[in-house]
């Protein structure tokens, strides 16, 4: 049976304007990285070897899993009875927040590690892009985690129902965008050589 398509994306429409702008901004950086890489492939490849691919891999799994729990929270609110929905959504959001925090901790360890090795923004073009992209993304994860915490607080007091969960979808959409950006960023910076 053909389902009727929704007219607008989930959540507030304003968040989608922000999401489209963010995608465009990161997209320009991604292409800038690739064009710069082409000018000095050896430098980019040798610098990339200094990154910890395991940390990048674990962080990708963390963000994917966090996004998975956020969508589970949204589905719980949309599909379950109110009391069960609140308990489940709260639990899922708490896991998602914890994973967001874990991502930040691992990334922070990577940054500190690089700085202690004397590597920073001005080391070379590769690291300029590495820090620009990952720090910019890092700030989005911080904001996303704060948003998730607010969603959790509102869920806890029963602020969302089957019929009224627009702000939950708004925050969730932002978090999935953060995930989407990292899905492209991980192979681009850590893997492709």
């Amino acid at each position: 049976m053909k389902t009727l398509k929704q007219k607008y994306p989930p959540g507030d429409f304003a968040i989608w304007i922000i999401i489209y702008i963010e995608l465009l901004t990161f997209g320009i950086f991604f292409l800038g990285y690739m064009f710069s890489r082409r000018s000095d492939v050896e430098l980019f490849n040798s610098s990339q070897l200094l990154l910890d691919q395991r940390a990048g891999f674990i962080n990708t799994l963390i963000l994917i899993t966090s996004s998975y729990f956020v969508i589970k929270a949204v589905k719980a609110i949309k599909e379950l009875d109110i009391q069960k929905a609140i308990v489940s959504a709260q639990r899922y959001l708490l896991v998602a927040i914890g994973l967001g925090g874990l991502f930040l901790a691992i990334k922070m360890m990577e940054f500190v590690g690089k700085y202690s090795e004397g590597i920073n923004l001005s080391t070379n073009t590769f690291f300029m892009f590495y820090f620009l992209l990952t720090v910019f993304h890092f700030m989005h994860v911080i904001l996303g985690t704060i948003i998730l915490f607010n969603l959790y607080q509102k869920t806890k007091i029963g602020g969302y129902t089957k019929d009224d969960h627009r702000s939950l979808q708004t925050g969730a959409s932002y978090w999935h965008m953060v995930d989407l950006l990292w899905i492209v960023l991980f192979p681009l910076i850590y893997i492709i050589r």
Binding site: T3, Q6, I19, L23, F57, M177, L180, I183
Partner: protein, 87 residues
């Protein structure tokens, strides 16, 4: 098993594949092409099932898809073609 759980598993398997390509330094042109295709699929799965755009009219759903397609395609073109061929 719920659909989103299956999606999460696919995303995790593709992520493991990407990691292994990098970790084992498997940088053949074919594997990088597969890596880019799997990255596109991952992104599209997030757009459709996590962002929940698969139930939305095409004009809004297509924007992140076009973004993803252009980015992945451009990365591929810049990666595969030497400096002399494209600007």
């Amino acid at each position: 098993m719920a659909l989103i759980t299956k999606i999460w598993m696919i995303l995790s398997v593709f992520t493991l594949f990407a990691f292994l390509v990098g970790w084992l330094k498997l940088t053949s042109l074919t594997l990088i092409a597969i890596l880019l295709i799997t990255t596109f699929i991952k992104g599209q799965l997030v757009i459709d099932y996590f962002m929940d755009l698969h139930e939305v009219t095409l004009k809004y759903r297509i924007i992140p898809t076009i973004w993803l397609f252009i980015i992945i395609l451009s990365i591929g073109i810049i990666y595969y073609f030497p400096k002399e061929i494209i600007l």
